[in-house]
Amino acid sequence: MSVKVWIAGGGVISGIGMNLEENLQAFKDMRTGMTTMQYLQSVHHETFPVAEVKADNDTLSDMALMPENTSRTALLSLIAAREAWKSTGLGDISQYRVGFVSANTVGGMDKTEDFFNSFLSNPQGGRLHQVLNHECGAVTELVADAMGIRHHISTISTACSSAANALMYGARLIRNNIVDIVIAGGTDALTRFTLNGFNTLMILDQQPCRPFDDTRTGLNLGEGAGYVVLVSDNLLAHIQPWARLSGFANANDAYHQTASSPDGTGNYLAMKGALEMAGLTPEDIGYINLHGTGTQNNDVSEGIAINRLFAPHFPAMSSTKSFTGHTLGASGGIEAVYAALALKEGIIYPNARFQHQMKELPFAPATAFSTGNDLKHVMSNSFGFGGNCSSLVFSKE
């Protein structure tokens, strides 16, 4: 059971940068990604700020070396997955038993939306190519095929916690000796479907979001992809690990299809379970990358669960969604890369736009970027629709 699973590298594309280095620079410069919509075509483009990846599909397809009519979800995925693999220095991917476990929530919906414009007025209308890769799994396969990965391929979709669950499943594949390496994380492109869906729930902020601030009124959607490369202990000699995936747990809130329970039951159980697997106590955690969407409901539930588990030893914490927006199926992957990098370089990420203490909580998020912190263990939270709650714990050794 206890084969160690290491993080050998990572890659990110998001609203604050086309690669991990650009993401890191944005945190240092306190440069957040929310702007007026530039690439997504929506009637709401003036109303809701979003954290788009700052490139059109032509540019992304050039970067990804894929046809330009490919779903944006796949383009983002391939760019980040390639960066992740390259960062490990492991070389020729065909030399290893590799799995690709990629989460997403929208699949090829960006193209399906366009298809439906023609299809609804005429059942023979719309070009079939636009729906060929509608399924979430189809997006994963486009990327796996481009990278030459065949040993194990899977797609997970549990709303906002999807990519954290991809890391868990990936770690189990390694522990069960099914593969030696798993590229695990998630991807999601902005679509009208999700933008309008979240709008009907009335949880989109018309201003840049303010996670864990008492005046918060909602989230901003973002897009992107993030992957870590999980590597079995038997390949440790070939890598320079950033961190180890030491604990993880998944629990269900079982309270409401889209809202968190007031006491954050699922959040609490996920964090507690992840600590138990890692063999740690709450005071061992040096930093928490919060789920921190900026909705009234999430931040109070998550905060109360943290208070219950961690009081009185509160680690540094922040929501990087204040920079990247909520990237849904990608968020757990992007934030796992941030968490692993935090251990590698002692980073505590800032929580942008925090000004007002939440009255329900005795702690406040970190507001400044700092590096060189002595971090031994960090936690990353991903909670979401369907009651799905997941926490990951990364350790330096």
């Binding site: 799994g137 997970i156 549990t158 099914i178 269900n252 079982a254």
Partner: protein, 354 residues
């Protein structure tokens, strides 16, 4: 660690939600799209909620409950769902309104119920179940991945009962679109003649099948889930044949010890070719049973096939409607399910009678 199937539940185009002998009575159709025979969902779900639930959610909740009833458990230690398409009906409703109303005056219900984890979330919500909950959405591997995740979690030793299943629904839109890809027969075909039909295309189907898996046998346990494996985009038939040989070796079963193969033939001559190749190479004299003429083709149809395989072991007989080649063996100990989805996703599931 042995992993046993302690309970199963299935909602399909056959009368599978009823207790009784397998496929008795048999439902026969002459159409290219089979729909589930719905049980009375009120036994599990409040009437007010039923009206708002899509068929995908209802069949998932129903099959999950049937399997827990058979296993005699009230609360699983994990809920793992496999669905390639997710909640297509609600996705279609929201997409239609969003496009036709130009992104105005939309309501949240369809969006909320459109996410792929709606079924797993609803099962947890109705049970008040706070444990591990995951949803796999990988095309023809969705169900297989959920079974594999279940076995890995059970081997860790803390969970005692894992509820794992697969489901997919057909909707008006999805059937229209998939038909345009040429997946289905051009004219209605009798289901009992599907597997002998001489041309391209199959029939569409849908359904849900759930399983309660445990390291401990229950009162209704008849089989062990001895192995599960997937092969992605094999380069040629030989790779599949080699993978089957290796799979059986790993699970210490010889070809001769396989009493029955259950294959995913779907009546499309191009897609059924590989089953002929595999049978010719490895199982030339083995009896073969099939299931897609009974449930239709869909990405998680193998969940129905696995459910049927477990029932065959329970009854120690193969219903005539399911037999494809040979005669039912006198004793059914080892049963191999081999399925592929459009040539890209090949799966092996080994059940052993216990």
């Amino acid at each position: 660690m042995n992993i046993y199937i302690n309970g199963t539940g299935c909602i399909s185009p056959q009368e599978t939600a009823q207790i009784g002998p397998l496929f008795s009575p048999l439902k026969e159709y002459e159409q290219v799209r089979l729909q589930t025979v719905d049980p009375d969902y009120k036994q599990w779900i409040d009437l007010k909620q039923i009206r708002r639930m899509s068929r995908a959610v209802k069949m998932g909740v129903g099959a999950a409950n049937l399997s827990m009833e058979e296993a005699g458990i009230k609360m699983p230690d994990a809920i793992i769902t496999g669905t390639a398409y997710g909640c297509l009906d609600d996705t279609g409703v929201f997409l239609n309104k969003m496009v036709s109303q130009e992104e105005q005056m939309l309501t949240p219900t369809a969006f909320i119920q459109s996410t792929h984890n709606t079924v797993g979330g609803q099962i947890a919500l109705l049970l008040g179940c706070n444990t591990y909950n995951n949803t796999f959405v990988h095309r023809g591997f969705s169900f297989e991945n959920s079974l594999l995740d279940a076995t890995m979690i059970l081997r860790e030793g803390e969970a005692k009962y894992v509820l794992a299943g697969g489901l997919d629904e057909i909707t008006h839109y999805s059937h229209q679109i998939l038909s345009r890809f040429g997946l289905y027969k051009k004219a209605p075909v009798k289901t009992m003649e599907l597997l002998k039909s001489p041309d391209r295309g199959t029939i569409a189907g849908e359904g849900a099948a759930f399983f309660v898996l445990s390291p401990e046998k229950g009162t209704h346990t008849v089989a062990e889930l001895a192995g599960i494996s997937t092969i992605y985009k094999p380069l040629w038939e030989g790779e599949v044949i080699g993978a089957i040989v290796k799979f059986l070796e790993e699970h210490e079963v010889t070809l001769e010890e396989i009493d029955l193969i259950v294959t995913g033939r779907n009546g499309d001559i191009a897609q059924d070719d590989i089953y002929e190749e595999v049978a010719a190479a490895l199982f030339p004299d083995h009896p073969e049973a099939c299931f897609k003429h009974l449930c239709g083709e869909y990405p998680t149809a193998i969940a129905f096939g696995t459910w049927m395989a477990n029932k065959i072991i329970a009854e120690q007989d193969v219903p005539e409607a399911a037999m494809f080649y040979g005669t039912p063996p006198a004793k059914i100990k080892n049963l191999l399910v081999y399925n592929h989805r459009q040539g890209t996703h090949h799966s092996l599931i080994l059940l052993k009678a216990c």
